[in-house]
């Protein structure tokens, strides 16, 4: 019966190798969680920063969950994509972070990674032609227990500002 209301925004991304970025995001929560309002997933616009290297999206998040248990606390997973001048899109980074469990306003910075091509040719192709390896199953972003087998390289950071409102957790003996 407890409720979690997330209000915030995807501020933007910095530190990526490319400029025209957009982000697909989603909130993943366990089976005990019920969506009361808002959108669970979405996609930002493409931002082409003119001034500095930080892409600003300021994409609003407003999701209201109700839960009957703590299991499966919501997680925010992100995919940062790049749209090049030809209108092609390619993946730049996967990332995820837990929604903070303490109430209040939080500034999160979610670091991202991307799979690295296994061979020299792949890497060369990526460099010259764009594109690159992508996860076949994107739920691995937040569910991969044996992700250590992947070879990845670090990508930039996504900045998220999240306000967390909790309700009735105290009633069930959860202190926050």
């Amino acid at each position: 019966m407890a409720e979690v209301h997330l209000i915030g925004q995807l501020l933007g991304a910095s530190g990526f190798s490319q400029r025209r970025l957009f982000c697909k995001w989603g909130l993943h929560a366990g089976g005990a969680w019920k969506l009361l309002g808002g959108l669970r997933e979405g996609q930002t616009q493409v931002d082409d920063p003119q001034a500095d290297d930080m892409a600003h999206w300021c994409h609003p998040l407003d999701v209201h969950f109700a839960t009957k248990g703590l299991q499966g606390w919501p997680r925010l997973h992100l995919q940062v994509w790049h749209q090049d001048s030809l209108g092609r899109t390619e993946l730049l980074g996967y990332g995820f972070c837990h929604v903070p469990s303490s109430p209040g306003c939080h500034a999160l910075s979610c670091v991202t990674w991307r799979p690295r091509g296994s061979g020299v040719t792949q890497r060369l192709r990526h460099r010259l032609l764009g594109g690159g390896p992508q996860l076949r199953a994107p739920d691995l972003i937040y569910a991969g227990a044996d992700r250590f087998r992947l070879r990845t390289e670090a990508a930039g950071t996504v900045h998220v500002e999240l306000g967390v409102l909790l309700r009735h957790f105290g009633r069930y003996g959860v202190q926050c």
Binding site: M1, A2, K24, G30, G31, A32, K34, L35, L36, G37, G38, E41, G42, Q43, H64, A66, T67, K68, G69, L70, Q71, G72, Q79, D84, L86, G87, R88, T89, E90, L91, P115, G117, S118, Q122, R125, H126, L129, G130, G131, G132, P133, Q134, L135, R136, A137, P138, L140, G144, D146, R147, R149, L150, R151, R171, Y172
Partner: protein, 1538 residues
């Protein structure tokens, strides 16, 4: 290096000023010093402060420099110093500063320290004195000051002088840079010196090994743990030299020895480095990686679907290709089949079966197996004695096997036999049929080949077989017998022992009777004495076996029959056939078929149309390559048949399974897919038709009914691209409906989807792929296989995803789901209609009332329950329910579409003004100003989003009215009933003299005027105008109404669905003199104002919203009888105008209505919808649709304001070409019979009938989404529709009556976009309003139709391309292509589209009894309502009057409310002489009760509050065919005259 004389910071600040200013300042200071005896300390401070700032570091360097250069310059400058006072003066300033520098030239810190500490302390007076002196004469003081401090250092004196002079020079004469700079070589210290220096303070430990004794405490011998046998850990490796250095260093330290262990070595932890690495490197990238961890290389691709939906990470690698090979079509039954064909098809089918069985040859196989088994048994029996028990053991197993095999073989044999028999039977039937009809249609022939067999051997084998079987059976029975015997024995034994026990018990009981303990000895069922089994008779067995063999097996010696079907027979040529057969053959030749291919229910291609061959086969042989992006969801073939040139019928739809990924082009087998159609086809020739029963027997018995059916042979496969790569989308795309456990391992790809249901196949696959049974990923699969194969494993009857969830739940699921708040939030989020715009959800559960959900729950609950209470009529309740469902489904469909935004919805890109517009703007500036000519200003348009309550106002401007009924003097005499049956001729002749009454001149002079006023009500707000006088009042008043959108939602969507109407009621204000006493009359006036309803106009808000403004003259809806009122007959003041007015016969009111600020109707939504609608299904020809699109585009480009309608959406959401709706239909016979000889009256009657069908605008129900067009039978079933349906029905009726009629698509007031009907009567065009039943001449000024856009007939569409579109100004001659642009012309001839309308309309007869019952109920409800509206008054009903009125109403219905007024008036007068009656009948079509109640309420009859008022109310319902009900309500108030 710094220049020598660089002054310290504070002095530079002084120096920075020009010299003059410095001097002036000094002067001032001097003055100040003089005036004050005491010098200020600030002056003094200037001196010492810089000294502090001078850094010690600089001093050395300065010292050296000064020594070198100072001496020579010194003398020169000393002389100069005396030169002039001016110079001196300035010098003094310099000196002040130089002093500080000179003083800072002390060589060491010590001296500086001394200077600051010692010098000041012992001689404070000197400073003071100095200060005093300075105040008197600055320069001297300065010098003295210096001297006092520098007595010890003479050289410095000269030095200082040099400085002084030099600096003075600098400022006065200016010198070059070289004077300050000195070039010096880089300094360096020699290495040896460095070493020497370092040696003094550095310690370098030696690299020599330290003797153990030094490291150990004294008198201790080192002990070696290893030697003592203890385990010594390996130490990390350190090179010996490093170790030595460290040891040497540590030993020098205090307590250095603590660092050493017992063995004299440095204490050390064991080596932490492991031999093997903890995390092994990942070498095998290519193999052994879990599939979900694999990454794939993707090219950066252009996402074609990017702007449609959010896609996951793009999963496609470019187009995939699906090859669909449609080779042909074979009908197994076709309507054109002759009887022979039917038999032939049956025969072919049986023969196919026979061949298939023969190929399998199961009988032979099983027989062989049986033989082998028997042999084996025999062998083992023989060898049993020799080989011992192992062989013995297998014998029973063999026997069981034999039994089973035998049983199977018998079954197969039986089937074979039956098949053969039926083949022969059908062939015989066919032969007899051919003989009977004397011609052959099919080339089929059956040969029975006999295969002779050797009689004797055959008999032998047969007998042997039977014998073997008998033996076996006997054995079997014996075994069984033995078993049973065994059982019997044991049972008998048990029984006996039980009996014994029983006996002994009884005995015991007898003994222990006295104790009588209640022993619970079992009173269980007494074992029955077993019956010994019977022996089976061997004779019986033999009989059985022989019988069976007789039935199923070839008799011994009988030749084996092998049927052979050949197509070598000759078909009788057509000339020799009877007529019916020839017709049939011709019909077959006319027919052809084609197949449409649908991919994901979208038509992608179609085959060519191929004729049907005489053997009902169609060969296509076409291969379609479908380039696709997504995994196909469905593949569908639609088989069409065309007959002759025109009609095309859809025979059947066939769904083709999507091929498995392994099926590739080239290797795909041809598959035959059967289809059938349940269309009923009756033919008038030899063809048997479809779904028609026929019989082969002469007596018609044994009837059979066949449906059209057939097979499509096709093959679907994945194409193989270049380099042999199959163009198959990855399987992950098809992840719908496949359990996740299977997804990863790709079981589907290897065995196909069908394999999942086949457990054996699955198990086999699992074994083949060596699936790891311990892998948790496969657990589910393994368990499933195990369960399926063993069939006994425990299957849990629940399934849980998160097993531990329940234990940690805060609350139970029930409680969780019970939360009202959550439910409300969720419903709001889901945009459920009731909660869509719910503003604030309460925070606490208790604040949400249960009532909130009641309505919603009721709706959910009663979705299928038909509630007749509101509708009073079960039929209408059903219809309303159905409509509700259609509406919901449409709305849901469009809610989805609403969220689909286009760029233009989100971004407002304003057009850049072109040069032309700029130029125009410039011209405007130059235009002469004409202040007297008012110019229309474009009002600002407001988008709906930014609005809130109170922002929008509805402005209603009531201008004037014509021909308001006037009061009739109560005493007026009976008037001559001027009954006139109007005809078209009379109407158009328009002779005013014929209608102008002649007999009423006498009362015209003393007539009572009417005092009308208008009351407008909108959304519960009521406003009224002032009272005007006379029948043609002029108000010109503007009324303002606030507008409130439902739920405060001002979105376009919501505004379009506002159902409110503007009611404009015309009342007459009557003044009654109520002065009770005649004596008061002189002194006071006491009157009461009474208002009487005269008529009303209703305008829906949506019309205003869509039209932005409504401006025009409307007919006031006046009841046919207004008691106490009469139409003012013209008095001939303005004849010319009267003639027009008389024609119109009614009262009119001129209005201007608009919304302030102007709202933009949601066009964008509509456009989007249109886009969506194009995605809907259609059965129209592609070419036709393209032509329609082109035509529409052409028309709208020429006349953008005129709507061109070519296709519409029918109820099932399919696009239909509009002309298909127009078709002559029969009106109800009742109406035609009513007045058989007058065609125009009948036409009026029909129009009235159509108008009586209730009106339901679907722009309201579908919120401006789309127009759904019903066919006429649907319309009559639903009994509700909007203008289009009314118009279509009326047009069809007129066509059915043999008139020339067209559908007009145009614009009318107040409906807006609408449909009217145009007929041609006696070379005049008449325009019919289908929703009111009124008709107008083309040149009628009061015709509500304002503009005509297009005309539609059953075979063409004409678009108005004339300059004007008002019906008065255009010509309706459609034969002129310059005026009307036809759709079908010579270039595109009319293809003969078949109509969507039914062949004829079937009407239910009107149910009189139901109408009477309904009448009673309505009356009761209305009476209750009137009493309810008068809560503070007593409501009395005048029964006498009611019954009078009730009698009168049928009369009104009969005359359609015309020309009965005077009769009625007279009658009422007669009967209720002493009452003042005011009231009127209201006529409405019946749909629901609510509008009736509304109508009665709006008249305001109940508002009268005279104390002795009485009421009368009568209802009459007249039923028309098909349940169309005409409702009359008569309300009247009666006041007794005194």
């Amino acid at each position: 290096m710094e220049p020598v004389g660089l002054p310290p910071v504070p002095s530079t600040s002084r120096m920075g000023f020009s010299e003059l200013s410095v001097r002036e300042r000094m002067r001032e200071k001097l003055k100040a010093a003089r005036s004050k005896a005491e010098a200020t300390l600030s002056q003094e401070d200037l001196g010492p402060r810089p000294r502090h700032l001078k850094s010690i570091r600089e001093r050395k360097a300065e010292l050296r420099l000064d020594k070198g250069s100072g001496d020579q310059l010194g003398e020169l400058q000393r002389d100069e110093s005396l030169l002039s006072s001016k110079i001196k003066f300035s010098d003094s300033v310099k000196k002040l500063k130089q002093k500080s520098q000179a003083q800072s030239d002390y060589p060491s810190a010590e001296e500086a320290y001394n200077f600051f500490t010692l010098n000041f302390d012992p001689e404070p007076e000197s400073i003071k004195a100095g200060a005093r002196k300075r105040s008197e004469l600055n320069e001297e003081e300065a010098e003295e000051y210096v001297e006092t401090h520098e007595e010890e250092q003479e050289e410095d004196e000269t030095d200082e002088d040099a400085h002084l002079v030099k600096d003075a020079d600098l400022f006065i004469m200016g010198q070059t840079d070289e004077d300050f700079l000195v070039t010096k070589p880089a300094e360096c210290e020699r290495y040896s010196e460095q070493l020497q220096k370092e040696k003094e303070f550095l310690f370098i430990p030696s690299m020599q090994t330290v003797p153990t004794s030094q490291k150990m405490p004294e008198n201790m011998q080192p002990r070696y743990l290893e030697d003592e046998g203890l385990y010594a850990e390996e130490r990390p490796f350190v090179s010996p030299s490093n170790q030595n250095i460290l040891e040497n260093r540590i030993l020098r330290q205090e307590k250095g020895k603590e660092w050493f262990g017992d063995d004299g070595r440095i204490l050390a932890l064991p080596n932490p480095i492991k031999q093997s690495s903890t995390r092994p490197p990942v070498f095998s990238l290519e193999e052994g990686i879990a599939p979900e961890l694999e990454t794939i290389y993707r090219k950066a691709i252009r996402t074609t679907a990017a702007n449609q939906y959010l896609i996951g990470p793009g999963d496609f690698q470019g187009p995939f290709q699906l090859d669909i090979d449609i080779s042909g079509l074979i009908f197994t039954h076709h309507p054109c089949f002759s009887r022979e064909h039917v038999l032939a098809a049956k025969l072919a089918q049986l023969y196919d079966q026979y061949l298939a069985r023969k190929q399998k040859n199961l009988t032979e196989l099983l027989t062989d197996k049986l033989r082998a088994l028997r042999n084996a048994v025999q062998c083992s029996m023989d060898s049993a004695a020799a080989s011992g028990p192992t062989a013995q053991q297998s014998i029973p197993e063999y026997k069981i096997e034999i039994r089973q095999t035998r049983r199977l073989r018998d079954a197969e044999q039986e089937k074979d036999r039956m098949l053969l028999k039926s083949i022969i039977k059908v062939w015989k039937q066919m032969k007899s049929l051919r003989e009977f009809q004397k011609f052959t249609n099919t080339p089929m022939k059956l040969y029975l080949r006999k295969e002779e067999v050797d009689q004797r051997s055959d008999e032998k084998a047969y007998e042997a077989e039977i014998q073997a079987e008998i033996n076996e059976l006997q054995e079997e029975y014996m075994e069984e017998y033995e078993k049973k015997m065994e059982e019997y024995k044991t049972e008998l034994q048990e029984w006996k022992s039980w009996k014994k026990a029983q006996k002994s018990k009884k005995k015991k009981k007898k003994d222990l009777r006295e104790e009588e303990s209640v022993e619970d000895y079992d009173v269980g069922e007494e074992p029955v004495k077993p019956v010994p089994p019977k022996m089976v008779d061997s004779l019986e067995i033999e009989q059985q076996v022989r019988e069976k063999a007789n039935n199923f097996r070839r008799k011994p010696g009988e030749p084996a029959l092998i049927p052979e079907l050949v197509l070598s027979g000759s078909i009788t040529p057509s000339e020799q056939c009877p007529r019916a057969e020839v017709l049939r053959r011709e019909d077959v030749n006319k027919r052809s078929a084609f197949i449409k291919v649908f991919f994901n229910s979208k038509e992608v291609s179609r085959t060519v149309t191929r004729p049907l061959s005489s053997d009902f086969r169609v060969h296509f042989g076409q291969i379609f390559n479908l380039q696709i992006f997504n995994w196909p969801e469905s593949l569908k073939l639609q088989i069409y048949e065309t007959t002759g040139m025109s009609s095309t019928t859809l025979l059947a739809e066939v769904f083709i399974p999507v091929p498995e990924t392994t099926v590739l082009t080239g290797s795909a087998p041809m598959e035959e897919i059967e289809f059938s159609s349940n269309q009923r086809v009756m033919l008038d020739h030899e063809g048997v038709g479809s779904d028609v029963s026929f019989s082969f027997e002469a007596d018609g018995s044994n009837q059979m009914t066949l449906m059209t059916s057939g097979k499509v042979s096709n093959s679907v496969s994945w194409a193989v691209g270049e380099k042999g790569i199959p163009l198959v989308p990855p399987v992950s795309q098809q992840n719908t409906g496949i359990p996740s456990a299977l997804k990863n391992i790709d079981a589907i790809a290897s065995i196909g989807t069908s394999g999942l249901t086949d457990m054996k196949k699955l198990a086999k696959w699992a074994a083949e792929t060596k699936l790891d049974p311990n892998d948790p990923n496969n657990a589910a699969l393994m368990q499933m296989i195990m369960v399926a194969s063993s069939g006994e494993a425990h299957v849990p009857d629940f399934f849980r995803l998160e097993q531990l969830q329940q234990e940690f739940n805060f609350v139970s699921d029930e409680e969780f789901n019970r939360s009202k708040r959550f439910r409300l939030l969720q419903l709001r989020n889901e945009e459920v209609a009731e909660f869509r715009n719910y503003k604030q959800v309460p925070l606490h559960e208790r604040e949400i009332s249960e009532k909130l959900f009641q309505e919603y729950e009721k709706r959910l609950h009663e979705r299928d329950v038909i509630d007749s209470k509101h509708y009073l009529d079960a039929r209408r309740a059903v219809v309303a329910n159905y409509l509700q469902k259609v509406r919901e489904s449409v709305i849901n469909r469009f809610l989805i579409a609403k969220h689909h935004f286009l760029l233009s919805d989100l971004v407002n890109e304003e057009e850049i003004p072109t040069l032309g517009i700029l130029g125009l703007g410039l011209f405007k500036l130059a235009e002469p100003k004409r202040p007297l000519k008012p110019r229309r200003k474009e009002r600002k348009k407001v988008t709906a989003q930014s609005l809130s309550d109170g922002d929008i106002k509805l402005l209603v401007n009531i201008i004037r009215a014509y021909d308001i009924p006037v009061r009739k003097p109560v005493t007026s005499k009976l008037q001559q009933p001027s009954k006139s049956s109007r005809s078209f001729n009379e109407m158009f002749a328009a002779s005013p003299s014929a209608q102008s009454p002649t007999n009423n001149v006498d009362w015209a002079f003393d007539q009572v005027l009417v005092r009308p006023f208008v009351e407008v009500s909108f959304q519960r707000t009521v406003c009224r105008t002032t009272t005007a006088e006379g029948p043609n009042p002029n108000w010109n008043e503007e009324l303002e109404f606030p507008f409130r959108a439902p739920n405060g939602d001002y979105s376009t969507h919501s505004l379009q669905s506002v159902k409110d109407e503007v009611f404009i009621n015309v009342f007459d204000e009557v003044l009654h003199d109520v002065t009770e006493d005649d004596r008061d009359r002189g002194s006071g006036i006491h009157t009461r104002i009474e208002r009487r309803w005269l008529g009303c106009v209703k305008i829906p808000f949506t019309t205003i919203y869509f039209q932005a403004r409504i401006d025009g003259t409307f007919k006031v809806n006046i009841p046919p009888v207004l008691l106490g009122y009469s139409k003012e007959k013209n008095l001939g003041i303005e004849r010319g105008y009267d003639s027009v007015r008389n024609l119109s016969e009614g009262s009119y009111i001129t209005l201007f209505i608009t919304i302030e600020p102007q709202l933009i109707p949601g066009e964008s939504v509509r456009e989007k919808m249109n886009e969506m609608l194009k995605k809907f299904d259609t059965q129209e020809d592609e070419k036709l649709l393209q032509a329609a699109e082109k035509y529409e585009a052409e028309c709208t480009s020429k006349f953008p304001s005129r709507q061109c309608l070519t296709t519409v959406i029918d109820l099932s959401g399919k696009t239909v070409f509009i002309t298909r709706y127009i078709k002559p239909l029969n009106p109800p016979q009742e109406l035609l019979d009513a007045l058989p000889n007058s065609s125009q009256t009948t036409a009026e009657l029909v129009a009235r009938y159509v108008a009586l069908i209730p009106f339901l605008p679907d722009s309201v129900s579908f919120a401006g989404i789309c127009d759904l067009w019903c066919t006429s039978d649907q319309f009559l079933d639903l009994l509700a529709g909007d203008e289009e349906e009314h118009a279509v029905l009326l047009c069809n009726y007129f066509l059915g009556m043999g008139k020339k009629a067209w559908l007009i698509i145009g614009n009318a007031i107040p409906e807006g976009q609408t449909a009217y009907v145009l007929t041609l009567e006696q070379s005049q065009y008449v325009i019919w309003n289908p929703s009111t039943g009124c008709f107008y001449r083309q040149y009628d000024t009061f015709c509500p139709l304002q503009s005509v856009y297009c005309l539609i007939s059953c075979d063409n569409i004409w678009f108005n391309i004339q300059q004007w579109d008002s019906p008065v100004r255009i010509s309706f001659d459609i034969s002129k292509p310059k005026l009307w642009k036809p759709f079908f012309s010579r270039s595109l001839p009319y293809p003969g589209l078949c109509s969507v309308q039914p062949e004829e309309l079937v009407y239910q007869h009107s149910d009189k009894a139901a109408a009477v019952e309904l009448q009673g109920r309505i009356e009761k409800i209305l009476k209750e309502k009137i009493m309810e509206w008068r809560p503070r008054h007593l409501t009395r009903w005048n029964r006498y009057c009611t019954s009078t009125l009730r009698n009168f109403l049928p009369l009104l219905e009969q005359n359609q409310g015309k020309d009965v007024e005077d009769d009625h008036q007279a009658e009422l007068q007669k009967q209720l002489g002493d009452y003042r009656v005011s009231g009127f009948p209201i006529h409405m079509p019946f749909s629901e009760v609510r509008p009736l109640v509304e109508a009665v309420h709006s008249t305001g009859v109940h508002t009268i509050d005279v104390s002795n008022v009485e009421f009368a109310l009568a209802v009459y319902v007249h039923p028309y065919p098909q349940n169309v009900l005409s409702t009359w309500i008569y309300v009247a108030s009666l006041v007794r005259n005194r």
